[in-house]
Subunit: 410 residues, 2 copies
């Protein structure tokens, strides 16, 4: 008997029929003797509907009140799923984030989980109950409702798995695992049996939308066994893609695991920045204070005491970031700012990179051969990311996928 | 400076535009120096949408889980109204029933309020905040979400007014007061400046849908000054209809205040019931245990040791009641059951009835002249109710309204 946390995303619970299917899937796992905690997202489209409604009332919705109303999306789903489970004879109880005391900080719309009280869930599980919990939401120390930001239901799933010391956290989604790249762009893309946490982290942060970044970090930190599966696969394939901690745990020995891409970013370059200590903090401090996450940061060697400083942010934060920077630019006496949101970030990811030379040059040559200009470059131990013109996204992904032989089983 | 509780119903908050109008109305009261607690319903249609969704998943939705999802309707509205208030410069905070500790029993979908902790609201009010509270919902002692049943937002409003010792509880709705009868059926119907609590109670329980019965009882019990107003009236008429405790407090001296009617009921007659002590309890005990409210009860003098026992219930509870009675009928060895839900209840209401004879005979004669058959009769000190065939509803209301000269100002 294992304790399993399952998380079902918005498309998996997108209609009454699909919710009933999810209930049947849960019943199959329950019948095998497992204890189950199930985290659900809002029905697909619901969160966007609520945000649009809020914007009709207030163009820039108050974050506290936005969380109050947006969190209802998941609350509807937990009620429906608990009904579906009871309807087929299982014991089930639904809980909001506040009810199972998923305590977060007070950063409305982007809150972080501080602690979870697992006692109530544990008692229900021992009582034979399936526990259904609303993803994406929590409650701050004052009792106000918070949300974890987009994709936060994955984080809820992993955080509950960590708090309950679950044997496995299964993320059910509309894809049946992690692929070498998006199969809609490259039909030859292959599903990976395993992927390391580090690679997954890079893939997730790069827009490979299978899992939310923070949930992967969380899983790594608390050593939660994480598996990505499809909620639509009827073939009883319960394998999907396992995310591993150790490179040698059933590891496919590919050098490169996949090509990720993201069209969710905008780039900002501050021109003629005085090249002195502390200047990066003077620029990015206020951006961080405005609760904007910065992704790539590039600063080249300066000359004449001046340098250019570039970084990327999520497109949703683009206007806010520009506004935040206005006084900063005056204060540090920079020459000006250039920016744009018609960009894409494409990345080559693989732990094999550590021990293999020449990956970067293969990537750059491949893009050059197609006449694709590289605007920014950023590298880590297991990843090479480039920012290019948005219109070349698909082309870049396709040629890189081919260049690294990702269409061939290793 | 007064402390005022305002309650806005579903049509009053039925769209972003209407919510903004409600915010402006609140701002006008706030500008006059009043402290305001505002209770809101779900946007019109939302509760029905959620119930329909639940039924797609489970034909008879689990009551606990139904409350979890149906309560989201009000939660969306409080967020939106708080945004609208902040957008025009007021301080505002929204709270769910659980957040302001509206503690109820655990009778899901029909819960009763046990207590309210007003401290948090009081602190916000003293801080200059408009406090926005979700109507219709509470939380039981185990922390589970409950709802108060249809129209429960009125009860929330009155209960908050009682807990806060508010100067007045204003119920904003889509009508501008209490009328002698439904103006859609009788165009000559007049608005009453005042009505007594007892009359209002009868009118409410009889389907005059201005206020929910329980809220009027609550207001009477805690001596809450209650006023019914229109949220659509732009003429700055803040008078509406005041519900009075004392018959002489600005009382219009009409004998009859109004004609109420209800098409929400079903009648059940148990035939050949052994006429012995305790038999009524043997029949209605199980019905009450099934959480069904019984309205009219009629038992006539029996003969040959047998009698017929009739009562009415809400149409929503009709099938449940019949099912509940199956074993009861066998057990008490009754002869059988006849029932129907194509009925209407029409009532003549007025405190003047106490001191005026002949009201009943006028009512019965008026109906007889139109050939309307009376199936059941029930009377109280200030009301005469008859059950008739549903198809005669409008006709009965019109002729009774005329017979008691209700179209003429007193």
């Amino acid at each position: 008997m294992a304790l399993i946390v399952q998380k079902y995303g918005g498309t998996s619970v997108g209609s009454p029929e699909r919710i009933k299917n999810v209930a049947k899937r849960i019943a199959r796992w329950h019948a095998r003797g497992h204890q189950l905690v199930v985290v659900v997202s809002a029905m697909s489209g619901e969160t966007n509907r609520l945000i649009a409604l809020a914007r009709e009332v207030q163009s820039l919705p108050d974050p506290r009140e936005l969380d109050v109303m947006v969190s209802t999306g998941e609350q509807v789903t937990i009620g429906l799923l608990a009904m579906a489970l009871k309807d087929i004879g299982l014991k089930a109880l639904s809980y909001t984030g506040a009810q199972v005391k998923i305590v977060t900080d007070s950063a409305y719309t982007k809150a972080r989980i501080l602690k979870i009280d697992e006692q109530r869930m544990r008692a229900d599980l021992n009582d034979g109950c399936v526990v259904v919990v609303a993803g994406f939401q929590g409650v701050d120390e004052h009792g106000s409702i918070t949300t974890l930001g987009r994709g936060g239901s994955d984080t809820t799933g992993v955080a509950l798995a960590a708090a309950l010391k679950a044997d496995e956290c299964q993320i059910y989604t509309d894809v049946d695992g992690v692929y070498t790249t998006d199969p809609r762009i490259v039909p030859e893309a292959r599903r990976l049996k395993t992927i390391t946490f580090e690679e997954m982290l890079e893939m997730a942060s790069l827009g490979s939308k299978v899992l939310q970044t923070r949930s992967v970090e969380f899983a790594g930190k608390y050593k939660v066994r994480l598996r990505v599966l499809s909620s639509f696969d009827e073939s009883d394939d319960d394998e999907g893609t396992l995310i591993t901690f150790e490179e040698d745990e059933n590891m496919e020995q590919a050098i490169i695991s996949g090509i990720a891409f993201s069209r969710d970013e905008a780039k900002i370059t501050i021109l003629g920045v005085p090249d002195r200590p502390g200047i990066a903090y003077q620029i990015l401090g206020p951006v961080g204070d405005a609760n904007v996450d910065v992704d790539m940061i590039v600063q080249n060697v300066g000359h004449d005491g001046l340098t250019d400083f570039s970084f990327t942010v999520h497109r949703n934060d683009y206007q806010k970031t520009l506004k935040t920077l206005e006084p900063v630019i005056k204060h540090i006496q920079a020459r000006g700012i250039v920016s744009g949101d018609k960009i894409a970030k494409v990345s080559v990811v693989g732990v094999g990179m550590r021990s293999h030379a020449g990956i970067a040059s293969t990537a750059f040559r491949t893009l050059a051969e197609e006449g694709i200009n590289i605007e920014m470059i950023s590298t880590s131990e297991i990843k090479i990311s480039v920012v290019i013109d948005e219109k070349y996204t698909e082309l870049a992904v396709r040629v890189l996928h081919k260049a690294f032989n990702l269409d061939q089983a290793s």
